[in-house]
Amino acid sequence: MSADHLRLTGVTRIYPPVEGHGAVHALGPVDLALRQGEFFSVVGPSGCGKSTLLDVIAGLARASAGTIAFEGRTIAGEVPDGIGVVFQEDASFPWLSAFDNAAFALRRAGVPEAEVRERVTHTLNFMGLMSFAGAFPAQLSGGMRQRLCIARTLVTRPRLLLLDEPFGALDQQTRLLMGDELLKLWRETGATILLITHSLDEAALLSDRIGVMSARPGVFIDLVETGWPRQRDSRIVSQAAFGEVTGRLWAALRDQSIKALAMAS
């Protein structure tokens, strides 16, 4: 692993005042450096700015202060090449078949059709969706639709994959299995992954490192190294060390969650 695949320095996001509501300091200042090929998760209380952090990294929102560098190039409010994002909500295009969904970005980018077919077939096979290639999203389960969204992102071969609670709407068993799938594709693609999640178990299971954020404005208050080997799967939840990781996360988060709850009420 090489250093600084993604580097955030003093990144801050302040939402400007809107119609009688004052400015909202949502995030930062945040400093963070992700290593090439690292699986990094962000946990924090509700409303702490986790998704804002992802938006700023993805170039979907502009940082009010600070700099973000991806592979040495500064991101300034535009989506850079090499970054893929999967959102919590179902973002599959309901009017396209699974195959056409997965091929969408490649076709818009003008990739030759033969290459589109090869890459989409490979990715759908990898995600276990090839037998549903002709199906429309409404014919797929929630978990399959989310896998389709991941497949649609993977075909573009992102070097940094940003995941905003992609399994948030799924039940616990499916989440564990999807976590296994995610670990498999992480190992195969070698991409750096930044996962936003509210689930401490999910973060502890999947990550090399976990950043714990404070209540708004979100800043990192702890960085937890899990120490898991690269070859791992959901069976590690039965290990004592897994409980220790989630215990440490909760110890760091508990006061912040209480604070966030008080701010919300």
Binding site: A58, V85, F87, R108
Partner: protein
């Protein structure tokens, strides 16, 4: 045909049979309403008449023009208002009360502006239809899931790609509703305009037959109008059902 379709067909046939019997047996005065079979004879007479065919063609051209213009301008207007929330907030009350304004009062103004030709009628049909398209376009745009908008941004689509590949298909159900309203309102605007103030077209032919006590021709033309409007709406409805079936994964 679906079960609902058969039931619909049966109800229409039953109503027509009832009207036929009521007219034939003298329960309804033939001065007011003629039997449906006689109406059909009038329709045939209308189709056979070169003059009436020219009227029908003129009306269809005017309707198509006002429909096309209202779809283009209404969609563009909806997009513009969606992108400029302040303008939308300013215009919302006007859009909400728009159909309280009798558009026909502008006919003299349109004659001054466009002259004595088809364009005043097209303008009335357009004014009738365009706001329905704007309102439905706004509704459709507001309902595009945020995740799709963000996905388009992540894929770095151009504006044209975003419009063609995301906005149009995602808002299609509402755009269809707007188009269906636009068909109905374009017909209403053009036919009513021809009926009251024009010297040609189907509306004028119906009015002429009415004033000449030619019930057979008047009802024949009304039946022809029903067939035309019904045909166009059935086409749209079929297209819309296919779209919904795809969205629902059937």
């Amino acid at each position: 045909m679906t079960r609902a379709g058969w039931i619909r067909l049966f109800l229409i046939a039953a109503a027509l049979c009832l009207l036929e019997a009521a007219c034939r047996l003298g329960y309804v005065s033939r001065d007011a309403v003629i039997p449906p079979t006689v109406m059909l004879q009038g329709t045939w007479r209308a189709i056979a008449s070169e003059e009436i065919r020219a009227d029908v063609l003129l009306t269809l051209q005017n309707v198509l023009l006002s429909l096309g213009l209202s779809l283009v301008a209404g969609t563009a207007g909806g997009l513009l208002l969606h992108r400029t929330p302040r303008l939308r907030r300013a215009l919302d009350p006007l859009l909400a009360s728009y159909y309280a304004v009798p558009t026909f009062v502008f006919y003299p103004l349109f004659i001054v502006l466009f002259g004595l030709n088809r364009w005043p009628l097209v303008a009335i049909g357009f004014l009738f239809a365009v706001v329905a398209v704007i309102i439905n376009t706004l509704d459709g745009l507001a309902r595009i899931p945020r995740a799709l908008v963000r996905t388009a941004a992540v894929m770095r689509l151009t504006r044209a790609q975003y419009f063609v590949h995301i906005i149009l298909p995602a808002a299609a159900p509402w755009l269809f509703t707007g188009a269906k309203f636009a068909v109905a309102y374009s017909f209403i605007g053009v036919i009513a305009g021809e009926f009251v103030v024009s010297g040609a077209g189907m509306g004028h032919a119906i009015a002429f037959a009415y004033n000449s006590f030619d019930n057979r021709m008047m009802y024949g033309l009304i039946v022809l109008l029903f067939v035309l409007v019904g045909g166009i709406n059935t086409l749209l409805w079929t297209w819309e059902r296919r779209l919904y079936a795809r969205l629902a994964g059937r």
